[in-house]
């Protein structure tokens, strides 16, 4: 079969059909769209995503704040009395003690070590006085 350059025109536009009476039904169906009152979104609908975003942000801040407050309460008021604080006490005069012993021996610490630690960890002078009264 030879069509030459006009092959598209010779084949012609494909004819497609629709079910009987389709366009009559279509017109009445589409015409009723206007009576359904498709309205454009109002002010409230326009603001809704922004309000939802603001509410989510506020909720995150409140929950985060509550969790942080709770965590802060569960910590000892003064880190000096915490159990873990002893782990930070490394002897200045004999720092090798940390590596040479399996058990940390407080007897090995000199007074100077303890005082240095207390000063560096920001313990107030009232606490020194209290410790002094005890010993």
């Amino acid at each position: 079969m030879e069509f030459g350059n006009d092959i598209i025109e010779k084949i012609g536009k494909p004819s497609m059909g629709v079910p009987d009476g389709y366009f009559d039904g279509l017109k009445s169906r589409l015409g009723s769209i206007s009576s359904a009152k498709v309205s454009s979104p109002g002010v409230w609908a326009g603001m809704r995503p922004y309000l939802a975003l603001a509410a989510s942000f506020a909720a995150i801040v409140l929950i985060g704040n509550a969790i942080l407050r709770d965590t802060a309460k569960s910590q000892p008021a003064d880190p000096f009395y915490g159990e873990e604080t002893y782990a930070d006490i490394i002897s200045i005069t004999n720092p090798e003690i940390l590596y040479n012993t399996t058990e940390f021996d407080l007897e090995e610490l000199s007074d100077e070590d303890i005082i240095n630690y207390l000063i560096e960890s920001g313990v107030r002078t009232e606490h020194f006085a209290y410790a002094g009264d005890q010993y």
Partner: protein, 180 residues
Amino acid sequence: MTDKEILDLYKAGQPELAFKEIVNSYSERLYWHVRRFLCSHEDTDDLLQDIFVKIWASLSSFRGESQLYTWLYRIATNESLNFLQKQKIRAALRFESMSSKIEDRIDEDTLMDGDQLQRDLMKAIQRLPSKQRTVFIMRWFDNLSYEDISEILGTSVGALKASYHFASEKIKAELEKNLK
């Protein structure tokens, strides 16, 4: 009723009547326009409903800067291309080929009266890149002028002519290959 008369109706505070006139004048034309993109009566029927909902919702924003019918064709064309794009994405997510899906649709379309050559022509059109396909459908099927297509698609007449030329050449080459 002419476009001007429809717009006069709308300006006279009778938007529902104006819309009904748009439906009377354009529903059939836009149906065929969309059908040539989608190659399915059912999909076209669904999409046409959405298109007219959109036309009704945005009728108040139509300022008359373009002709009414180019504005309507623009909405229908954009909606058709968006619909096809969504279908393409859905097909890709299912590891399916959109073009073979459309070709199956053309073969199985009981509402298409054309012979095998016409079905091959439709398939060749669907294989074109989106822009060339759009121009070809609007020019060859809908008989729209290049000036009108330019207003609808926002592309220069020169670029449209080039797209149409490339589209025709590709279709011819494909049809001749099928005939050999």
